[in-house]
Structures are given as C-alpha cells and as structure tokens.
C-alpha cells in the first residue's frame, strides 16, 4: 500500500463519524416526517410526487390511500380533530392539489392543524404551463395559515419543521408545502433543524393581568352573566378548567356548534347550542345578558344573527388566542388575548367573586322547561330527532360523531348530547357537504377502539361515497347513518320558508339503492322505515366491529327548529315550542 493510499484511508476513517451521508430529497422528506413523529398520512399519488412515493415504498410511513384527494384531506381533518395531532396530506401537482382546496379551506375556517404536501412540476418549468402545473402557492395563499414552495433541498428540513410548528401552535390551521419534482431528486447533505426562528410568528399564550382584573370587576357587578364556549376550549384542552370555573361562578353556558363537547350537555347550567338553530334558552340568554364571556369562539354570523341586536346590553369579554378575532364582529370591552386554558387557569387562581345571578339562573331554568327543543309528530317516516336520540341511547352518548352540513348536522348537534371533548367532528365555518363520511375514516384511524358514527344526508353522502372502498379495504367499523329525505333538506327548508315552496333543484327523485351500493363494496346495508326498525337494526349493528350503512327514511318535510331567519336577531326565533 502506498503512503498516499494509507493517508487517504486514515482520513476517511477520521471523517466518517462526523460526516452525514448524502441523501436525496425524497428520502430526506420521509426522514423528516419520521422526525416529526408522523404516524399516518392521507394521500393520493401522481406524476410529480412519484419520487416521494418511491421513498415511502422503501421506508414506509402508514399511508391511507383515499379514492379522491378531497376525501384524503377530510380524513386528515377528522384524524386531527379527534387525535389533537396534525393531519398530514400528500397529493400530486395540478389536479391533485386543486382537489385539496375545499379541505384546506375547511381546515382554515375551523382551525384544524394540517400539514399538506403537494407535488409541483420541476423548478425549471414552473411558469411554463407544464403538464399538471397549477399555481398552488397562489391558489392556497388565502386559505392557508402559511404556505411554502421549496426552492432548494437544503431548505426542506427547516420548512417542514416550521410548517408543523405553525400548523399546531397559536390558532391552529393548515400549512401547505409545495415540492417541485426535481427537489426530490437532488442529492445533498442537509442538516436537520430543531430550533424555530420565526420572528414574525410569536403567538401569545398568557393573559394580560390588567384585562383579567377588569373581568373580575365585571363579574362582581353582573346580574345576567353568560358564557359562550367555542372550539377554542377544545383546541386548548380547557374543558376541565371551564367546568371548574362555571361551577365556582355558577354562570350558565352556551356552546357554539363547533364548541359542543367542551362543556357537558347534561350539566344543569348548560343552556344548549346558540345561534340560527340553537335552543330558545341559549339565544335568549345571549340576547339579554349583561355580561357575555366569550371563550374561544369567533362570533360567527350563524351564532350572532343580526349584529345590531346581538348582546346589546352586555359587557363583552372575549378570550381568544387570535387577536384579530377580538373586536372583529362584536365590540369588545374586555379583550384577553390568550390560550383558553392559560386564561382560565389564571382566573381560577385569583378567587373571583361569583356574580349574584340567582334570579337570572331561575329565569333561564324556567325557560328551558317552557321552551325545550321539540318536533311535530306528523307525516310519514322516521322522526329525525327521535332517530338521533336512538343513536345516542345505543352508543351510550360516547361515540365519535361526524356530519356534513345541513339538517342532519343540526339535528345531530341538537339531540346527540355531547358530554366529552373530541367526539364531535363537523364542518362548521365552511359548511362542506361530503365532509362527514371521509372525516369519520380519519377519526376511526385515530381512535380504532371507538365507535365512530358518520351521519350524512342522502345528498352529501353521494359527494364522497367512493370512500366505501377505503372502509372495506381497511375493514374500518364505521357506522354510516344516511338521513334520507330524498332532498337537499336544508335547501328545501329555506325554499319552503322563504321562497314560497318553490323547490328549485333541491329534490332528488332518483336515489341509488344504498343497500346494494354498500353491498357492492362488501359492506352490510339496511333500509329502515320506522323508528322501531331503526332501533332494532342499530342495536344489532352500532356496537359490533363491522362497518354498516343504514339508510334511514326520515320524514321528508321535517324542519329544523327553532330557526332564526337571515337578518333577524337572536330574539326573533321562529318554530319555538309554544307553551
């Protein structure tokens, strides 16, 4: 051996422990995901992501192959909602990415943490209208919390680490990373990144003590206090603190649609959901209150009704992690920018004086007795309200329940009776049809031992029903309940109420045979026409370990009540149970 060769060998030995071995972008991508503790991802392959899928083949992370990208991202949302971990999505460039747009927007509106990866054409041809090219960064800029296009392989570890940080901290939301195809093929020795350096992103978690003191003063003076608890309570895992605060202060609680489960619905101080289809008592409480404490809700228009009538006599306190939500829709007197849990912990540590609200509580209790949720008992078919009570009974009120948007969503919100956090997955802000069924798939993957019930309308179910294939493939024991009224129920309800019964394009005269459809995928299906049948089939199928589809023929003309017409205030409910 020559001296040179010896020296070379010596040098190599000396260097090898500190040297990271060269790696290509695709393999690096998988390594980074593992480092971020990604256990499962939802996706669909295609040309621009072939290298990434090849790396996943060699070094697998559990990947759920949906039958459509929209379902992949809704499944990731369901997964994120019940697990508290970010949902991870991978789709190809162009149509793969544009098919994700609905899900990204849905996650943005409902603050669901997602990290979405899209393929992109190679950097050299970006901007040339190449095959399957779409300006995904431009398209998703307004519907993501932040987005990135990877321009160099060296940036990949930093970008992915930042994306997970941004998606899951502060007010959660979707972050998208666009990866051009050639980045996946580049070879380099990039360093992994552990620290976060984002000077423009510093969410504030701790409440300001001056504002907390102002709240103390307001509580001591209040005669008609009410708490409005939103999804922020769930995101911050603040249910226990909320319960403690409520019991100590004896303040009645209203939930928003997305906040259901953040406070036990069987608690005597619970007034129900507020808003367009909320309970009479909840809406009257919001309308008449002299102190409104909003914890983690964003005063959505479906909750407030006409703003000029909303909480007119109330001092408004608002606890929110997102400062931009405070004062956006409703003038706020006590702004508290903080994580709901941190704020409640601080408040609990300070021994506040409880408001003197005996009269107010008595009035609201009486109102609950006088104006409960109700339904008329006429017409052919199953009462949708009674059906939801049956589902509650049989699942012991303990199932994870998902829905789309519309009548079935409102009946579920009104009648399922959520008592625990993270068992309710629905499309609130965006109101997405076709959301519930794929979201149930993600929820079942996150919680394999839980009963997961996907409640869908007959119209919405047909928007993503291809995922029956995924349910069959993974043998997921999801219980699909189709509220079948042969119509787009809520559209029909509005046409009946506001358009003189002109049912323009809202009735669906031809339906598939849902039982045969399920059968085609090897899933057992049933049709039920009466409440007795429904009860019998459900008690046999909802608690076993198999998927099932139950086509429930509900009263086609049933309405969701109470209701607040658009432009009306919370006190102007129609369809309230007469005394």
């Amino acid at each position: 051996m020559s001296q040179n060769a010896k020296a070379e060998e010596f040098n190599m030995e000396k260097q090898s422990p500190v040297k990271t071995s060269p790696i290509n972008g695709a393999d690096l991508f998988v390594e980074i995901l593992k480092k971020e503790n990604v256990e499962v991802m939802f996706g669909y392959p295609g040309g621009a992501v072939l290298p990434l899928y090849d790396a996943l083949y060699k070094n697998p992370i559990r990947h759920i192959l949906a039958r459509h990208e929209q379902a992949a991202i809704h499944a990731a949302e369901g997964y994120a909602r019940v697990s508290g971990k970010p949902g991870v999505v991978l789709a190809t460039s162009g149509p793969g990415a544009t098919n994700l747009v609905t899900g990204i927007t849905d996650a943005m509106m409902d603050s669901i943490p997602l990290v979405v990866f899209t393929g992109q054409v190679a950097t050299g041809v970006i901007g040339s209208d190449a095959f399957q090219e779409a300006d995904v960064i431009g398209i998703t800029m307004p519907i993501t919390k932040h987005n990135y296009q990877v321009r160099s392989m060296d940036d990949l570890p930093r970008i992915v680490h930042e994306a997970f940080h941004i998606a899951t901290t502060g007010r959660p939301g979707p972050v998208l990373i666009d990866i051009p195809k050639d980045i996946a093929g580049m070879v380099g020795e990039p360093k992994f990144v552990d620290e976060i350096n984002l000077p423009g992103y510093q969410p504030n978690f701790k409440p300001n003590s001056l504002q907390v003191k102002k709240l103390r003063g307001a509580l001591a003076e209040a005669k008609k206090p009410v708490i409005l608890a939103g999804a922020g309570v769930l995101h911050a895992k603040a249910s226990a603190e909320l319960l403690e605060f409520v019991e100590k202060m004896q303040i009645p609680v209203v939930n928003t649609l997305l906040g259901l489960g953040g406070f036990p619905s069987n608690h005597p101080l619970f007034l129900g959901m507020g808003g367009m289809h909320g309970t009479h008592t909840a809406n009257i409480a919001l309308y008449e209150a002299d102190l409104l404490i909003n914890i983690g809700a964003r005063f959505d228009d479906r909750l407030t009704g006409n703003l000029s009538h909303f909480a007119r006599n109330a001092t408004v306190a608002h606890i929110d992690i997102d400062p931009a939500e405070i004062g956006k829709n409703v003038e706020t007197h006590i702004p508290i920018v903080a994580d709901a849990r941190e704020a409640l912990k601080k408040i609990l540590s300070l021994d506040f004086e409880a408001p003197k609200a005996n009269e107010w509580r008595a009035k609201l209790q009486q109102d609950k007795v006088d104006h409960p949720l109700w339904n008329t008992e006429d017409g052919e078919g199953i009462s949708p309200q009674a059906l939801m009570k049956i589902i509650h009974e049989i699942t012991n009120g303990d199932a994870v329940v998902t829905t789309d948007v519309g009548q079935h969503q409102m009946w579920t919100a009104q009648y399922y009776g959520f008592t625990k956090p993270d068992q309710w997955v629905t499309s609130g802000g965006l109101g997405t049809m076709g959301f519930g069924f794929p979201a149930a798939i993600g929820a079942q993957i996150a919680k394999p031992d839980k009963t997961v019930v996907a409640v869908a309308g007959d119209a919405g179910f047909q928007m993503t029903l291809q995922e029956l294939g995924l349910v069959a493939e993974l043998k997921l024991p999801i219980k699909i309940i189709v509220y079948n009224n042969m119509a787009l129920g809520m559209v029909r309800q509005w046409q009946e109420t506001f358009y003189e019964e002109r049912y323009s394009q809202s009735l669906i005269p031809v339906q598939p045979d849902f039982v045969k459809l399920a059968d085609a995928y090897g899933i057992r299906g049933y049709v039920v026409q009466t409440e007795e049948e429904a009860e019998k089939v459900m008690s046999e199928t909802l608690n076993n370990n198999e998927p099932v589809l139950i086509d429930c023929r509900i009263k086609p003309k049933e309405m969701v009540y109470p209701m607040i017409a658009p432009g009306k205030g919370l006190h102007e409910m129609i369809g309230v149970k007469p005394q």
Partner: protein
Amino acid sequence: MKRIVTATVLNQSGVLNRITGLFTRRQFNIESITVGATETEGISKMTFVVHVEDDRMVEQVVKQLNKQIDVLKVNDITDQAIVTRELALLKVMTTPQTRAEINVIIEPFRATIIDVAKDSVTIQVVGNFEKIEAMIELLRPYGIKEVARTGQTAIKRGSQRLVSESKTFSILN
C-alpha cells in the same frame, strides 16, 4: 378616513402578493402601496395608505397584517409625528410662451424639469400628498399629458410627542 400604516416584512418571494391578496379578500381599500429595502438586509418596509370606515376597521387591517407569518411589525402611524413623501413625474404641454410661466409656477415647489421636448416638459416633484396635489392643480390649465406617482412612503420623526397623545391599537400589552 385615511390612515397611514407601515409594515416591516421579511423579503420572501410572494410577500407582496400575500399582503395585496389580504387587502382584496378583506375588502380593505388601498390608495397606495410603496415597498423598499430597509437598513437591514432581507427586510423590507411597506407603507400603505388605506381608506377605512372607522377605527375598528383600521384595527382589523393592523391585526390581519400582523397575522401574516412574514410580517414582523405593523404600525398605524397616522397620529404619530411622521414625515411623508411622494415623488411625482408630470409631463406638461408647453408652447414657447408658456415655458417660462411653468418655470415660475414650479419654482416654489422646488420641482425640477428633468426632460424637455419640442412641445412638452417633464417635471419631477417631491413632497407630501397635498403639495403634489396643489402643484398638479396649478399646472392643469396648461394641459397635463401624463402623471406617474410613486405613492407615499413615511417615516417617524426622530422625536415623538408624548406617548399618551398617540393612539395605539395594541391589545397585547
């Protein structure tokens, strides 16, 4: 009402797009935007002149801008001690008779003629919004062929009034 808002931003690709997109989406009405480098490399400063209905809306402008990850700092500096400047280029029709008159008109504005042609002159003027408007009004009778304006940029004066006099929208502190 008109407000002047400044933002320091990371000079990432697409940051201007993010901000103008935000203005469009939230129906914030912008009169002008200027962007330029700052004393720190990689950081740019933007100055917006926005028309808003009330204080709550300008508060939303500031908060929504702040939510952007690439935005480091946002200030509504309208009520602070500031200096604002804009540059305008005006092409004005001339005849041998009017050329001297125009020279006299622009002189007090400390404007300069930077290009001369047979039947027109191009004038450069720097100043605040009102000054430029005033000069344009005076020149209008001669026939203005073209106007190009940069939009206002602004900076806070070295010495500020007492803190209690200036309005703040921050609810963090």
